[in-house]
């Protein structure tokens, strides 16, 4: 039994990144409570698993997702009447961004600027102006499938450059 408990600890700990992502997106990365909420969620999941409340009827990921979603709703209800369901339409920014993350951002800026114009254009129109694929295609005189292809390729290139 102790071995099983330790195993669960390790397994559940692997979900920290995805729980953190979900919580930060829902609450905003610069709300100081977000890390506490993540810790509460993982602790709650571990307790429920130890008590036998996770019976394997769904996957562990689904179980953790359900606990996470409920905790987020409870947190928001407690804190505010106006729902902050994530920064709209943008992405959470974190004032405590690590130096590593900041350097990665600088790298990304450089690499995006070095992309060929045809890739930069789709990134600008699709992600910055948030135009639908069809409109991006119209503006650039290409097909929507080509837009998807260029987005996919640009993302792939950037990931490769960052990994280096």
């Amino acid at each position: 039994m102790p071995d099983r408990a330790q195993n669960y600890d390790a397994v559940i700990a692997q979900y920290r990144p995805v729980v953190s992502f979900r919580v930060r997106r829902a609450l905003g990365g610069d709300i100081p409570d977000w890390e506490d909420v993540v810790n509460e969620i993982l602790t709650q999941v571990l307790e429920k698993v130890r008590k036998g409340e996770f019976r394997g009827e769904s996957s562990l990921g689904t179980f953790i997702y359900t606990v996470t979603s409920r905790r987020i709703v409870d947190f928001i209800r407690q804190k505010t009447k106006i729902l902050k369901s994530g920064p709209e339409p943008s992405v959470p920014t974190d004032p405590h961004e690590s130096l590593e993350a900041s350097e990665r951002a600088d790298q990304l800026v450089r690499h995006i600027r070095m992309l060929k114009p045809k890739y930069r254009d789709v990134l600008f129109l699709f992600y910055f102006q948030e135009l639908p694929r069809e409109e991006v295609a119209l503006k650039l005189g290409i097909t929507p499938a080509k837009v998807s292809e260029r987005l996919h390729y640009a993302q792939k290139l950037l990931r490769k450059k960052i990994k280096k």
Binding site: I82, V109, R120, F128
Partner: protein, 214 residues
């Protein structure tokens, strides 16, 4: 890159284009799919950089193109010696400016860091309904932006149940939709503002409301 069939939802999720049910399904999926989650994180990082540092990434290209065109013009202009040529050039420039200013291309939205989060452009403040009330709302109201905009309102109860559009800052809830709202249930609503050409200017946070009885 992900070979999972669900990866096609990643961009729509990041750009808040999925309906509530689709969003929840995709969120549940990436809690179970490492490939999609890694892809999601990577794209979110790119999106964040593009949103927050757009001036660095895109504006310099436009400036560089303008500069290249301008240098040649300046060299040719300096060859004119007579004073009247300089005066004529200044007058022409002033005239062009007067003609151009009303038609200048729409500026990209500015990103500012508010107290709680990064917001796009001006913040769009929702006024009512919010929180608890005695009856189902008859209309939705919000503060106007400082510029002309077209507003699209979406009403949710876990999934999208109604959407309306206006150039005003108030939208009446159709009677048939209002009748379907249930007391005690939590509803969410959100407004997005678009420029006349159709570019998203800003988006409000989601507000929730609930009513006791009708």
């Amino acid at each position: 890159m992900s070979s999972c069939p669900h990866s096609k939802y990643i961009d729509d999720y990041l750009l808040n284009r999925l309906g509530e049910k689709e969003k929840m399904r995709f969120e549940e999926h990436f809690f179970n799919c490492r490939t999609c989650f890694e892809d999601l994180k990577a794209r979110e990082e790119v999106l964040r950089v593009i949103k927050n540092r757009s001036e660095e990434i895109f504006a310099r290209d436009r400036d560089a193109d303008t500069e290249k065109a301008g240098v040649g013009e300046t060299r040719r202009a300096l060859r004119f010696k007579p004073w009247w040529a300089a005066a004529a050039a200044a007058a022409a420039a002033a005239l062009l400016l007067i003609m151009y200013l009303p038609h200048r291309p729409e500026l990209p939205p500015v990103f500012t860091l508010g107290e709680d989060e990064a917001v796009r452009g001006e913040s769009l403040e929702l006024l009512s309904p919010a929180g608890e009330s005695e009856a189902a709302p008859r209309a939705f109201e919000w503060r106007p932006l400082s510029r002309k905009a077209r507003y699209i309102l979406s009403l949710y109860d876990g999934e999208l149940i109604w959407s309306g559009e206006t150039e005003d800052t108030r939208l009446d809830l159709p009677g048939e939709i209002r009748e379907r709202l249930k007391p005690g249930r939590i509803y969410f609503w959100q407004v997005k503002a678009y420029s006349p050409p159709g570019t998203l200017i800003t988006s409000s946070q989601k507000a929730e409301f609930r009513f006791d009885k009708d």
